[in-house]
C-alpha cells in the first residue's frame, strides 16, 4: 500500500513547556480514512498542524507524499492537500458563493472551470439554496459544510479534517458523515480527528488511539475492539459507585478485565452470568444498581481499557 502521510517519531513541546506529543509514529495509506481518536487535549490538532507544515516538531519528521514537513509549504505537494481546522475557515462577511470563489481564485483556477466547480459543490453540499447568504448567517451545520466544500475546491488528494462533526446537531452530523463517506468513495485519502467513537467506528479504515500525546494503539476499529475487550462486555451502572460496591462486585474478577469510569463499571472476558447472579443475590448491590447490560463492545470500551479514561468529558 502506498503511503500518503508518514509520521516518524514526532514529539512536540510547546514554548510554555507543555508536551503535546511524544514520539508519535504512524503511516496513513492512500485512499484510506485514518482517524485520530482521543479526548480533548490529546494532541490531535497539534499533530495535524505539524503535518501541514504550520508547526515545527521538536523531534522527528513528517512526510506528506514524500515531502518533508520542512519543505511542505514550499512544495507543490501542498496544493494536493486540503485542511479543515476545528474552527470553520470561512470569511464570515462573504456570502457562501463568494467564499468558494475566493478560495478557488487563490488556487488560480480559471474562472470558467471554477464556476462549474462551485456549482457542483454547492449542490453536493446542499448549499445551493443559501449561496447568496452571508457566511456568518449560516447554521453551524451549513458553516461546516461550507468549510469542507471550500477544502474540496482544488480536488485535493489528501483531506485533513479536524473534528468535522464537532458542534453539530445529530441531523447535521449524519449528513456530514454521509458526505465524508462519499469522499471516501472518490478515493480521497482522509485524515480525521474525533473524540466520538460511533463516528470513528463507522468511517475509519484504521483508528489511532491517542492519549496525552502518545499513540496507544493503531488498528482497524473492529480489531481494536475485539483485541482489547472481546466481542461483548458487561456494563453496570450504579447509583453513587464507591469502593465498597466496586470490591463487592469485582472480587472474583481479574483486575485487567475491569474498567471503571465514573459510576460505570465495564467488565470484559468473563463469565458475565456469574457476575449478574452475584449482584442479584446481594440486597445491597441490587438496591444500588441502575442499569445492567451485556452488549457488543465498542471503541469507547477499547479506549477505556487502554487508557482508563473516558473519551468524552463526562
Amino acid at each position: 500500500m502506498e503511503v500518503a502521510i508518514s509520521v516518524r517519531n514526532v514529539s512536540k513541546v510547546y514554548s510554555n513547556n507543555i508536551r503535546a506529543l511524544s514520539k508519535v509514529s504512524f503511516d496513513v495509506y492512500k485512499s484510506e480514512i485514518f482517524t485520530l481518536l482521543g479526548p480533548n487535549g490529546a494532541g490531535k490538532t497539534t499533530l495535524i498542524r505539524i503535518i501541514i507544515g504550520q508547526l515545527e516538531p521538536s523531534e522527528g519528521e513528517v512526510y506528506v507524499l514524500g515531502v518533508s514537513g520542512r519543505d511542505f509549504l514550499k512544495s507543490d505537494v501542498r496544493l494536493k492537500v486540503s485542511y479543515v481546522p476545528q474552527e470553520n475557515i470561512i470569511w464570515r462577511n462573504l456570502t457562501v458563493e463568494e467564499n468558494l470563489y475566493l478560495i478557488g481564485s487563490m488556487y488560480k483556477i480559471p474562472r470558467r472551470v471554477l464556476k462549474e466547480k462551485v456549482k457542483e459543490l454547492l449542490i453536493d453540499f446542499e448549499l445551493f439554496e443559501v449561496r447568496k447568504r452571508l457566511a456568518h448567517k449560516l447554521s453551524g451545520g451549513m458553516e461546516r459544510k461550507l468549510s469542507i466544500a471550500m477544502a474540496l475546491i482544488n480536488d485535493p488528494e489528501i483531506l485533513i479534517l479536524d473534528e468535522p462533526t464537532a458542534g453539530l446537531d445529530p441531523r447535521a452530523r449524519a449528513s456530514m458523515i454521509a458526505s465524508i463517506e462519499k469522499l471516501k468513495k472518490l478515493g480521497k485519502t482522509i485524515l480525521l480527528t474525533t473524540h466520538i467513537v460511533e463516528e470513528a467506528e463507522r468511517l475509519s479504515d484504521r483508528v489511532a488511539i491517542i492519549n496525552y500525546g502518545k499513540i496507544i494503539d493503531i488498528d482497524a476499529p473492529s480489531n481494536l475492539k475485539t483485541k482489547t475487550c472481546g466481542i461483548e462486555v458487561l456494563e453496570l451502572l450504579f447509583k453513587e459507585l464507591n469502593n465498597e460496591i466496586l470490591s463487592k462486585v469485582t472480587s472474583t474478577i481479574h483486575e485487567k478485565n475491569i474498567a471503571r469510569a465514573g459510576d460505570k463499571i465495564v467488565i470484559k472476558e468473563n463469565n458475565f452470568n456469574e457476575v449478574i447472579e452475584n449482584i442479584r443475590s446481594n440486597e445491597y448491590l441490587s438496591s444500588k444498581i441502575l442499569a445492567l447490560s451485556v452488549r457488543k463492545s465498542n471503541l469507547e470500551d477499547a479506549f477505556l481499557f487502554l487508557t482508563g479514561r473516558f473519551l468524552r468529558g463526562e
Partner: protein
Amino acid sequence: MIMAILRIMISKFKSAIRSKELYVYIIGFPLIFMLIYGSFAWALYSEIQPITIGYLNMDKECSYKIGNSTYHINYGEDFYRYLKELRYEETNVNVFKIVNVSSREEAESRVGRLEIAAAIQVPIGFSNNLTRALESFTYYSLAGILNSRAQEAYENGNYEEANKYWSALAELSEFANASFSIRINLIGDPTYSKAMQAYELCWKYLVSYVISKSKSFTNLYAEYLSKKYNISIEFSNETLSLSIEQSFQVAFHRIGGGGLKESFTKMYFAILVPGQIIQSVMMSGVSVISMIYVEIERRLIERIKLTKVSSPEYIGGVLLSWGVVALFQSTILLLSAIALGYVTLTADITYYFLSIVVIVTAGILTASFSLTVASFVRSEISNAIIMIMLITLSLIIAGYFPIPNPIIGELFGVKFAALDIAPWRRAIIALRKLLMLTSIYTPIDVLPDLLILFLWTIIYTIISFITFSLMILKKRE
C-alpha cells in the same frame, strides 16, 4: 499575479464594508467629532494657554503735533507691548508668548518648524497710517458734537460761544479727509490650526488696540481743544467700534506664497474636515487588525498558505483593499461635510483626482502600519493596542496642537520634518490644500506633500511585507 491581487482586494473590500465595526469609524467617531467641533467652532481654541507667535516690526517711527506739542511714536513697538501684556480674562495667563523675528525668511522657517503658530509682520507705514486713522476717528467722534453745540449756542443767541465751537471745528477739520488703511500681515501655514487661532486673535486684538488708541487720542485732542477754545466737550466714544472695523485688515500670508482673504469659519473647517477624514482612515486600522487577527485565530491564514497565493499577492491584496475602503470612508465623510455646509466644491477635477490619490495612499499606509503591528502583537487586545497607537498619532499629527517638528533632511528641495515619520500628517495637509483651500493652493503646491507621503508609505509597505511575511506567512511555529 494581478488577478489574484485584485480578487483578494475585492473580497477584502466586500468583507470590510459589510463589517459593522468599520461604520463606527466612518460614521460614528468622525461625525460626532465633526458635529461637536463644528457647532462649537471656537471651543477648540478656548484653552487657556499662551500662543507663541513671531513678531516682525518693520514700522517706522512717525510724529504728530497737537498744538505746540510734538509726539513721536512707533506704533509697531507699542502694539508689541500691548500684545505682550494681554491676559486671558480673569487669569494671569498671557495670551501671547512673543518671539522676535528679524526677517520674513526667519518667520517662514520658524513657522515651518512649528516653533511659532504664525508671525505678525507690521508693515513700514503702520505708525503713519494708524496716526491718520486716529485723526480720522477723532474727527468723526468730535465733529458732530462741536457742530451741534455751536448750533445750539447760535440758536440761543450766544454768538460768542457759538464762535468758539466753530473755531474748534475748523481746527478739527484738518483731520477730515485723511486716507488710511490699517493693515498688519500674518505669516503662517493655513493648513495648521494654531495659525488660524493666531489669525483670529490678531483680528480681535488689533481691533481692541485701535479702539483703545483712538479713545485716548480723541480724549487728548478733545482736552486740547477745550483748553484752547475754553469750551466743554462731552462725548461718548462707545460708538467708535462699529465704524472702525471696515477700515482695517489682517492679511494672511501663507508661507511660500501669496496672501488670502478667507473667512475664519471657512478656515476653521479647512482644518477640521480633512483632519477628521484622515483620522477616520487611520481608525480603520483597527478593522484591519481585527480582520487579520480573525484570519490568524481561525486558521484562515494556515489555509491560505496551502493555496497558490504568494505572500506579495496576499499582502498586496490586503493593502489595496484598505486603500479602497479609505476612499469609501472619505466619500461618506466628505458628503456629510458638504451636507453640513462645511465644504464648498470647486470645478477643477485635478483637485479631486489628487485627493483620491492621497486618500488611497493613506489607506494603504494605515493597512501597512496595522499589518506590521499585527506581525508582533497577536492577542484579543491587539485592536485596543492599535487604537491607542493610532489615536495618539492622529492627535499629534492632525495639527490641532503645536508640536515641535524639526526639519531632519532635504531631498529635491523638499524638506523632511520629524513628524513626517507619521506620514498621515502629509495626507491631512494635502487634503486641506486640495479639498478646502482651493482658492489659495494650486495642485502643484501639493507635490511636496505627495512626495513625502509616497516615500514614507513605500517604506512602511516594505516593512510590513517583510515583517508580515516572516512573522506570519512564512513562519513555522
